[in-house]
Symmetry: D4
Subunit: 255 residues, 8 copies
Amino acid sequence: MRKLARGEISVEEAIRTLKLFAIEKIGEFARIDVGRELRRGIPEIILAEGKSLEELSEIVFRSIETAGRVIVSRLDGEIMDKLAKKARRRGLNVEEYRKARMLVVRKTLGRRETGGRVGVITAGTADIPVAEEASIIAEEMGCKVYKVYDVGVAGMHRVFDAVKTMVEADVDVIIVAAGREGALPSIVASLVDIPVIGVPTSQGYGFGGSGVAALQSMLQSCPLGLTVVNIDAGVAAGTVAALIANRAAYRAGVK
Amino acid sequence: MRKLARGEISVEEAIRTLKLFAIEKIGEFARIDVGRELRRGIPEIILAEGKSLEELSEIVFRSIETAGRVIVSRLDGEIMDKLAKKARRRGLNVEEYRKARMLVVRKTLGRRETGGRVGVITAGTADIPVAEEASIIAEEMGCKVYKVYDVGVAGMHRVFDAVKTMVEADVDVIIVAAGREGALPSIVASLVDIPVIGVPTSQGYGFGGSGVAALQSMLQSCPLGLTVVNIDAGVAAGTVAALIANRAAYRAGVK
Amino acid sequence: MRKLARGEISVEEAIRTLKLFAIEKIGEFARIDVGRELRRGIPEIILAEGKSLEELSEIVFRSIETAGRVIVSRLDGEIMDKLAKKARRRGLNVEEYRKARMLVVRKTLGRRETGGRVGVITAGTADIPVAEEASIIAEEMGCKVYKVYDVGVAGMHRVFDAVKTMVEADVDVIIVAAGREGALPSIVASLVDIPVIGVPTSQGYGFGGSGVAALQSMLQSCPLGLTVVNIDAGVAAGTVAALIANRAAYRAGVK
Amino acid sequence: MRKLARGEISVEEAIRTLKLFAIEKIGEFARIDVGRELRRGIPEIILAEGKSLEELSEIVFRSIETAGRVIVSRLDGEIMDKLAKKARRRGLNVEEYRKARMLVVRKTLGRRETGGRVGVITAGTADIPVAEEASIIAEEMGCKVYKVYDVGVAGMHRVFDAVKTMVEADVDVIIVAAGREGALPSIVASLVDIPVIGVPTSQGYGFGGSGVAALQSMLQSCPLGLTVVNIDAGVAAGTVAALIANRAAYRAGVK
Amino acid sequence: MRKLARGEISVEEAIRTLKLFAIEKIGEFARIDVGRELRRGIPEIILAEGKSLEELSEIVFRSIETAGRVIVSRLDGEIMDKLAKKARRRGLNVEEYRKARMLVVRKTLGRRETGGRVGVITAGTADIPVAEEASIIAEEMGCKVYKVYDVGVAGMHRVFDAVKTMVEADVDVIIVAAGREGALPSIVASLVDIPVIGVPTSQGYGFGGSGVAALQSMLQSCPLGLTVVNIDAGVAAGTVAALIANRAAYRAGVK
Amino acid sequence: MRKLARGEISVEEAIRTLKLFAIEKIGEFARIDVGRELRRGIPEIILAEGKSLEELSEIVFRSIETAGRVIVSRLDGEIMDKLAKKARRRGLNVEEYRKARMLVVRKTLGRRETGGRVGVITAGTADIPVAEEASIIAEEMGCKVYKVYDVGVAGMHRVFDAVKTMVEADVDVIIVAAGREGALPSIVASLVDIPVIGVPTSQGYGFGGSGVAALQSMLQSCPLGLTVVNIDAGVAAGTVAALIANRAAYRAGVK
Amino acid sequence: MRKLARGEISVEEAIRTLKLFAIEKIGEFARIDVGRELRRGIPEIILAEGKSLEELSEIVFRSIETAGRVIVSRLDGEIMDKLAKKARRRGLNVEEYRKARMLVVRKTLGRRETGGRVGVITAGTADIPVAEEASIIAEEMGCKVYKVYDVGVAGMHRVFDAVKTMVEADVDVIIVAAGREGALPSIVASLVDIPVIGVPTSQGYGFGGSGVAALQSMLQSCPLGLTVVNIDAGVAAGTVAALIANRAAYRAGVK
Amino acid sequence: MRKLARGEISVEEAIRTLKLFAIEKIGEFARIDVGRELRRGIPEIILAEGKSLEELSEIVFRSIETAGRVIVSRLDGEIMDKLAKKARRRGLNVEEYRKARMLVVRKTLGRRETGGRVGVITAGTADIPVAEEASIIAEEMGCKVYKVYDVGVAGMHRVFDAVKTMVEADVDVIIVAAGREGALPSIVASLVDIPVIGVPTSQGYGFGGSGVAALQSMLQSCPLGLTVVNIDAGVAAGTVAALIANRAAYRAGVK
């Protein structure tokens, strides 16, 4: 300001200096934020879709340095093989999940247990890849995962068996993946007193196909206690389920 | 053609004459078709929506002459009153159905029984007007109608009670009206060995509201044995249910 | 409860025990439900889409043990060949339907006749696969099926011939498959006194293409007596038609 | 340019001068275009919707000076009365069309006849206001209009009678207004050898309601010879029909 | 009836006899309708999409017997080659149109001239296949076709040149094909006093892509005198344009 | 069965008896299910929308007998007054929530505390009614609720203050209500390590208005840890948040 | 940390303390952000829609203290009157804009001039309120606004006159408001070398009505140089136009 | 006219002559318009999509003659190679941009600098191709472009760094490309006092996928100062940004 007064700088320069000052201040704050990823307890997850092997490799090997562990999702079989090979050559630990199309790369073995417990149920065989995606994320976030797949909706008995399994395991939250009319999450929600996360899957054709009817049904669901993530969003479901379970474990004093 | 040859008419006239001839032939056929309404066993049904009292009166009193009975649907309370009064003044028999917003006007009392049996179930209180619309049509088409309303979907026990009532009554077909996620028709269809007609009702707000989620769920339904009519289409559901039941009664030799 | 009173178990354990008790009770019920599939008279139908040959084989050969007959729908030509070969090697009877993309696998030959009669009409050549899907299901459910394909809608005369065939056969219900503007089911419904099931097919491009206009037209249809299943849903149409026809035959005392 | 060279004007001024020059040239052309409205033979039509009585009056009385005749569409009953009164007080000739919600205001009586012939058919009573809108426009553009209203679609015989009337009148083009599934324009198109203009009307509720199913059906129509205007677009239909008929009359040498 | 009275037939048989009688009558009418295709002046057009070479061949060679000329649309290059070869081997005349993906097969050479005149304009290069489809249909229906392609919309001058060409040719109707925002048909309509048929083409990506924005713009168009066919519906546009032009020629007494 | 063997009953009767037996068994199960509502810990909630005062009164006073407490949502001001008066006259305790349009009716005062902690944040003033709906439900389910309303999104500082409040209160879950582009839930989710429930509100006009853009944004959200309920679904959000918080409190041994 | 080591606090407390520390830091940053509104040069704008007179008054009179000037948009006539009266009673300067439904309340008279120049064009009369909204915002942001309203699109000459006015005024940016097919912004963009902002207005009915066709057309526009804001978003258009113009003025050194 | 009076020409000829005269006048104007492309300062840009190598070559080599420079967008890798080779063989200068899928072909090297400054920011890696498309256009229009890619939205600190870079470079406008929930443009707009252009990219799956949620979010954005182009419309964004920047530079007197 004094410089401006003495005419050493123009008004324009002064204004720009002020703007930069505000941004600098913001920059300082930004630095603090660096630890956010760790603080939140959500692992580094990279969406492979639309990235080349080269791009993926670069991002994975750059991230692993600071994060210690990287999860890659939506991988094509071939690229998964090549990426896994590359990682192993660098001495990294690699776990391949074909059905879930996921790769977990880590520097050191072992996974922290939080004490959180997550249930995962699928209506049909076709919903399994999405459910597996969710399961792996929840496990990587330290939860114990209990799965009952292919429960159907036409025959009610397998639904009850699945819910029984969940109650016996005393899970903190249940993820239910279902396509077409997406009724299973509502039915499960109507039988338990814990939160249920519905994941519509892109099953079904014709009007309401590709998971749209399932998404709408879950959003319109009469039995309360159900929240929803996007169609095929296994990663989102797994993350929020683990946050719920880990919160419960945290309050229970489980470490 | 001879006239054309002799130059008595122009080519244009000849062509037009030929066209008219074809249409005349069609006209003759059309005459035969006059009895169709009666043959099909579907009563004369007039949609009141968008018509003034004057227009409605004219149509009703013109139709009653040939049809003997006229059903008016989607009537506002006030217009229903006035129309009923007008009809009674002319010495016609009038039945008023407030919930269903329907009026049945007939020359002579009495209804032919066909022996068909139709079940009608609703998920909630809000679905009742649509279900009533269907019931009245089915009754006017000679069927005996068995109703269980407000069955809910959250609590499964009332669903089973409702289905039990239907099985005991040995109905030929069940109409199930449901809004929001529209799961009830699928559940009913999964429990019986007779056809089920789903009627989505315009309940629910937000994404998939106004009956859209319900319609999609019913179309995507996994349990087989379910067909669908349009949102709030009680008249359509009642008609097709009566056709199914009457067909069964006809084959059973019931008159 | 006594254990709780005596302090042998904690309150948490007591609550969980109660929950499990309720679920056990439900489990017992579930057992009863096992016979449902047979009771409903709907054969075991497996959707091949999105399943590998290995997954399909496993499901088919597991199901055939209890069900005696399994129908596989939406099969790619190549997978159909391999699955059929596998099944024959196991000494099972196999029927291949190329147009319908279906495979019927059964332990013993022969099909129970119910006395139900189903008519199937298509508007165009492109609607035939969907119609065939429906026909096979209806036949497997014991109905006699009468077909008239490629009836068109531009020329009215073939429509009347088709309806005449249906009336002569005295069918209990007519399935009409049509794409684009989907007008044929409405026209057929306006000519008969039996229920008509419209199946929109995914024909047509531009606005309202892929069967959407056809579905909407059938739902908006003025002539009453028409119900609808989803776009390309041949299996759903065949099932509900057979339920209607079998109900009629049942009441007629036909066995 | 010279001024620029001599430094009398800056480069900026020079550029702006050039831009203005181009625009001026365009302006000259624009003047020529003034006669377009008259040349095209389409009357001045003002949409009343969303305009106050004051705004409407001002526009109508300004336009009437140059155009000699003004048509106001989509008028509320009350505003129509007041506008008509105002116009009559100024000594103008006014025709009021209640059903069509239109007002025709003209300086001198009489309408030029072109020799064009337009047919107008409606499926139901509710389609009449749209059809009337179209009729009035066609008449104001000098055509003779032949109308058959409330033809229905359930009973085929009235359809043939309507078409017969059109063929006898030897019309140049037929407008067909229909809501819900909008099948009538297709059926009419399949019976005649002249162009048919489909006008979907905003009838029908549920999926495909408000004219959407009708619009889609007409666009997907199998029988060729059908074009479409927007939902409820009676003015558009009337204009294009009159252009077609007037073109035919022009080539026939009719004046 | 007498048979019924004498007890020779049951009531059921009597009813069925009556139904068949009505259908027979309809059957007779249907026969009359056979000549419709010829009467309407629209050639036999077969949509190749979704049909195998075998199916196409069978339909084409069956139809050519009665129709004398068959047009096949939406042909893949390879199938076109094979179908053309097959047709030539049978001694038929074949014209191949690569851009339009069309094949015209005829028994004898020569085309009837009607005196109708059709203009065809496209906005861009990508709209040409659709425009060609329309042109060929119009020519096959006896019209003379005047084309101006790739007129653009950014530069107004080519628009005026195109319209000038149309006015000089004194065409009866103009087809305008345009994608993306679809503004060209409106602009052309605002400059001429003859009907304009807009054909939206499936150009453009993002919101309103695949021809949807173009279709909506044409339906919402402010300048009157424009009708619309479906997205990419060149055949529909060509047919209705030819009907308009042929009607004008017919009234002018041109043969 | 023995009766059947002895011919005392027909096969039909036998089949029906069997069907009824299965349903009876189901009925028994259903009885067990009666306690479900209590077991789940979700209070009786009645949607007032579309119900008359009479219907509401009847449902409320019937339910209060068994449930002890009833919540009525989406009440119009006038009906709320009358219903409250009626309830008080019957000696019931009534709490009126104008903003939330809710009424809580209970037999005895007092609310069980669970130890669950729920945070509620709104983006704007218009989102408050939905947030209040959620808050009341969560409180009725025994949670302590911490609210920060009108946080905005344009200015980031109030967002941080709101999150700080939540972290200080150590809540188990945060509900974030936001309309228009619905960005706030994503931002909150990116700053905390507990689950976030996004509630889109029906704010915003034009494309993506009425909450659609908000719903889509939340479903597409990049920061993980966010689930979603339907547009304006405050009740659903409150319920699931309370289930999450109560589960955490339960595991923490809080009673 | 030391406290933790000495056991004075639990691990849970330690973690919470750390979290709060991070948030505090963020809080500091947030303080800096307070001046953002002023720095950006965008006035305080309050959306009246959905707020009561009391809520509005409170927000306006609280904001005016710090902001010095407040703009209220989307005001109903009656509430505008009352709010204006209230403001005047407090000694504030009030400007009422009926067409734009806006109120500008300021402590002291006078408006800073920036030297920015904004053009505003509307296609029709119905687009004026939206255009006025934009104009007022631009003026309040210090720009000089040049308006040409009701330019039409049918007649090209008024378009050129409007553009000429804009070029003569040497504006920095042009806002063009248009409904229905929304072609005007594209045409204007094709004639100038400055940015054009299209504002679709909620005009038009049927398919593509309520501004959807206009929005799509502008997004699909072939002529480059056009950006878009949401339907009826006059405030958004005015703000961005002023930012563009003010940036140009800033670089020109105009103060 | 005199010829008409003397009977030398018919009325029809006279009318056609008049029409042609009007069109000729328009033609003259059109000539003037030829320079438009140059005047607007927007380079010749050719969309490769849907064009064969032959078609592209022809258009490019024809345009380069008059335009001096041609940009080809949306090129497949293989066609780009071949087109580049062809152009080099003709002695033209060619720049290949793989990521942006663009080719710039020019007669002579060198690019005019305008003094405009454009910022380009992307949310993720997948948004880079669209951003590059925009950058190249802006550079070709003479602007200096400042880029910060892969800024993310989960971590706020990189957002501030990116904005800081833009403020330091003192850009005139910022383009922000983002997919999925598309929140980044809003955040950037809330931090700067210059116009921001949002480009939704076709990222994201499920409901709101393919860029729809991003487009809606940007249109609904609360922070003012943001305009939008269509999904993936990098060329449109680059053009309008350059027009804004060049206008600012023009007013600053920069050449």
